[in-house]
Amino acid sequence: MTTRIGVVTFPGSLDDGDAARAARRAGAEPVPLWHAERKLHGVDAVVLPGGFSYGDYLRCGAIARFAPVMEVVSLAAQDGMPVLGICNGFQILCEAHLLPGALTRNSHLHFRCRDQLLRIESATTAWTNDLTVGQEILVPVKNGEGRYVADRRTLDELEAQGRVVARYIRGNPNGSQRDIAAISNEAGNVVGVMPHPEHAVEELTGPSTDGLSFFTSLLKYLTGAPA
């Protein structure tokens, strides 16, 4: 049976199309989910895509968190459904308290858009088990508010529990604490990543095809194949 990956569209989402395309290229069936519906349409996993949901008003992700679809996404995530938040999706996951910390204005105030090297730090999550720890991947980063912050206790806890999923290497694009680019929840089913794996899934349009691994990881995770 084909894995069905729901991709949420909020008003202001931009990367839902690419996320759906990445899901398809990995061999899954993308299912569009609408922000105003309290329905998951039987999907096996959910992607919260990048963009500027609700105009990024108030704080990035603060209003999207209260979208009707987020009620069901939150419940499903707590039940173990894999959820990947990319960029704005990461911000929404933090605002929804599904992940700790917050994403704040880049320390240099510039919007940063470039290809970025990341080092994978955890290959046990639902979205990174097809990668290896220490592996370097090249994916686009594009954000104005991507600086990950949390109090020291939270950061130490994330490190100790192996929940820092990826770090920026050869330059931190936004001033994130401890160069954090991606984190997971305790169970490893919810992952937030600031850079964009969905933009690096084919040679023609991306700097690499490294991003596809996030989606093939999910398929591997759901089919129970040993990581």
Binding site: R59, F66, C94, G101, T104, N106, H108
Partner: protein
């Protein structure tokens, strides 16, 4: 109309690059005695109905709920709240 005013600031330990950018621009204005600038936001919430006595307290409770759930992210922000006469 009863109005509740909320002042939101980034916590002192959270970097405020916007404030820093403003502070760095001040010498261009010929101002050189500013140690730091931090930027927050003021939110005004107006309620329907009377704002006296007991109902003022209810509005304040209601405003606090709005603030805690939506307006402020306690990970990075802090706030003060008051009913404006």
């Amino acid at each position: 109309m009863p109005r509740v005013v909320v002042d939101v600031m980034l916590k002192p330990e959270i970097l405020d690059p916007q404030g820093q950018a403003v502070a760095n621009a001040l010498p261009r204005l010929g101002v050189s005695d500013v140690a730091s600038v931090r930027i927050g936001k003021r939110i005004e919430i107006e309620f329907v109905g009377g704002g006296e006595g007991e109902s003022a307290g209810l509005h304040l409770d209601s405003a606090r709920e709005i603030v805690d759930k939506l307006l402020v992210n306690p990970v990075i922000e802090e706030y003060t709240i008051r009913v404006e006469k």
